[in-house]
């Protein structure tokens, strides 16, 4: 298929439709409103639902309703809005419902700003709402990946019966790049647990997260964590860039990874062997490759648009074998290639 030039946010919307999503519920917030705008144009023309909900809370609960019926549903927002969705996300996880939540992150905390950020990493990967649970968290680093990972997120959510999150940032949402859109696929649910009406042919199905008997609730949690173990075993995705001979390993995702690639190219010109591990799944986190890499590098540099959140997962993965430093900008600022290069030079032991 020919490539088209698209905004990241619009690529998410079109890819979701092509993945068979016919139900979108949202609420306006910068910098992701293009997703809703795109859906409001397209959905009525293909017999789908676009509904501007009264709140983020309602939007995610509408998604919960559609997911209970077994169909593909999504909502999208940006950081403050995603905080509001956390209640619903916890319920989705507690009911083992597949759904897609998109977070095009902006700076925080509080109302923060409207410029790009990655400071919702903890919220996305460590639970976010109440209770023990995980989301599958995918981090796109191009408009192409905004499209591809949207489809992937729906597929994984359905495969494991759990909510998935596309964790993008304002840059990814707003930038335009050529993208090859996925082939449209019809989605035919095959889910015996859904609440589509008994047709008087079976016992009633119940979508529920309440278990008042502690033994039962414990068992539910244990079963869910068996599922999570299987996600961790089978679904880790990452990209390695010039890590074969690297002495210094940068770890970065999303826009930070793109900046880091420029810095690595520059470092190589100066004779410093730097490389990059780019997690594509933030949960499950690519701990294995980082652990292996720890044996052959001097250290790691976590490049993030946060005060240092992913850096904790890197340290856990490499088990404190090597130093891990942080190179970050926050509040909507993005580290420049020079800033990342300086961090690489510093770790190499040179002066900058």
């Amino acid at each position: 298929m020919a490539k088209v030039l698209m905004k990241g946010n619009e690529a998410i919307a079109e890819a979701a439709i092509r993945a068979g999503c016919r139900h979108y519920f949202g609420y306006p917030i910068t910098p992701q409103t293009e997703v809703a705008a795109y859906m409001s144009k397209r959905m009525p023309k293909i017999g789908g639902t676009f509904l501007q909900a009264e709140s983020e809370i309602s939007a995610v609960n509408m998604v919960y309703g559609v997911a209970s019926a077994g169909l593909r549903a999504m909502t999208s927002s940006s950081s403050p809005g995603v905080s509001l969705k956390q209640e619903g996300i916890s319920y989705l996880a507690g009911c083992d419902l597949p759904a897609l939540i998109v977070n095009v992150q902006r700076g925080g905390p509080g109302l923060g700003g409207i410029q790009p950020s990655q400071s919702d990493y903890f919220q996305a990967t460590k639970g976010g709402g109440h209770g023990d649970y995980h989301l599958i968290v995918l981090a796109p680093a191009s408009v192409q990946e905004m499209a591809d990972l949207t489809v992937k997120a729906f597929d994984l959510a359905d495969k494991y019966r759990m909510p998935a999150m596309l964790l993008a940032d304002g840059t990814m949402g707003q930038m335009m790049e050529p993208v090859e859109l996925p082939e449209p696929a019809e989605y035919k649910p095959d889910k015996p647990w859904t609440v589509t009406g008994t047709e008087n042919r079976r016992e009633h199905n119940i979508v529920n997260s309440l278990y008042l008997v502690p033994e039962q609730l414990e068992q539910k949690n244990l079963e869910r964590y068996e599922k999570y173990a299987s996600v961790e075993k089978n679904e880790v995705m990452y990209e390695e860039y010039m890590t074969d001979d690297a002495d210094i390993c940068v770890v970065a995702f999303g826009i930070a990874a793109r900046v880091s690639k420029n810095a690595i190219t520059e470092a190589r010109k100066r004779g410093i062997k730097a490389g990059l591990i780019r997690p594509i799944t933030l949960w499950p986190f690519p701990s294995g490759v980082i652990r292996k890499t720890a044996d052959k590098v001097k250290g790691f540099i976590s490049v993030e648009l946060s005060m240092g959140q992913m850096i904790e997962d890197i340290r856990l993965a490499e088990e404190c074998k090597k130093p891990v430093t942080l190179c970050s900008r926050v509040g909507g600022m993005i580290p420049s290639p020079e800033e990342v290069l300086n961090a690489i030079i510093k770790m190499e032991g040179g002066e900058n």
């Binding site: 139900h23 519920f25 639902t49 509904l51 909900a53 009264e54 709140s55 809370i57 309602s58 939007a59 609960n61 509408m62 998604v63 919960y64 309703g65 559609v66 997911a67 209970s68 019926a69 077994g70 169909l71 549903a73 209640e87 619903g88 319920y91 009911c95 609440v195 589509t196 009406g197 008994t198 047709e199 008087n200 042919r201 009633h204 199905n205 119940i206 979508v207 529920n208 997260s209 309440l210």
Partner: protein
């Protein structure tokens, strides 16, 4: 021997957990009878609230979803949009519908979302042990208004039917009670009507049912039913607040 009275098909055999004298059981039965009468059991999906009726997902034999506190109308909206040919109802208490879920309620109503809402108003939070509800009466003593509801500091009760009938959109709104045979029969008719409206694609129907809570009101079941007559109904007058079928005539 001819069977003249039996359990509705739309109720399971699970024993109800409600307190003695509580009228939730009657309301469950009326909802189930409506589902039976209209022959829609196989294509109905109910949404349970958080509150006393949280476990109604075990009692209704149709497919059921348990919603987060107050979110039932949003969940029902998702279900209805996903399955326009299914009959979707919510069953919610006063704290769920009129306090934490007020936004969901008002907006589902103003979209004239084609769903049926059964709103059980017993003027108290029952499940958590009797705290002040958005519908607790002025002066009503509860665990969190131990000196009586002081309207100067916590405001007045919310009259949901009156509030929603200020909106242009909703199709049908009626307040009923279940404290005596006459009222139960009227409630049965109203609930039936609310489901039939949905089958006919008319839109949002809400039936507010004045219900008793002897345990948390600190009354005998009999006195609780009397209190509905002497205190609740004067504040919450029964009747039809919106009927668009009449407006169309």
């Amino acid at each position: 021997m001819a069977v003249v009275f039996k359990k509705p098909e739309a109720l399971t055999d699970a024993p109800l957990h409600y307190c003695p004298g509580c009228t939730h059981g009657i309301i469950h039965r009326l909802v189930a009878e409506a589902i039976d009468d209209l022959g829609i059991l196989g294509r109905t999906v109910g949404v349970a609230p958080v509150g006393c009726a949280v476990m109604s997902y075990d009692y209704f034999s149709c497919d059921m979803v348990e919603a987060a506190h107050g979110r039932a109308p949003a969940v029902a909206t998702g279900l209805k949009r996903a399955m326009p040919d299914r009959i979707i109802f919510t069953y919610q208490g006063d704290g769920d519908l009129a306090s934490i879920g007020m936004a969901e309620t008002v907006h589902a109503a103003t979209r004239n979302e084609n769903i049926t809402v059964i709103f059980v108003n017993n003027a108290i939070y029952g499940m958590t042990g009797g705290q002040m509800a958005p519908t607790s009466l002025p002066g009503q003593v509860t665990q969190t208004s131990p000196y009586g509801r002081d309207v100067k500091t916590v405001g007045y009760p919310i009259k949901v039917c009156e509030l929603l009938s200020a909106l242009d959109a909703p199709y049908y709104i009626e307040r009923v009670a279940v404290n005596n045979v006459k009222n139960v029969l009227a409630a049965k008719k109203a609930i039936n009507r609310a489901f039939r409206n949905q089958i006919e694609g008319k839109g949002f129907s809400l039936i507010e049912v004045i219900s008793s809570c002897p345990t948390n009101w600190g009354m005998t079941p009999d006195n609780a039913l009397k209190w509905i007559d002497t205190d609740m109904i004067p504040y919450y007058p029964l009747g039809v607040y919106r009927d668009k079928s009449k407006e169309a005539e």
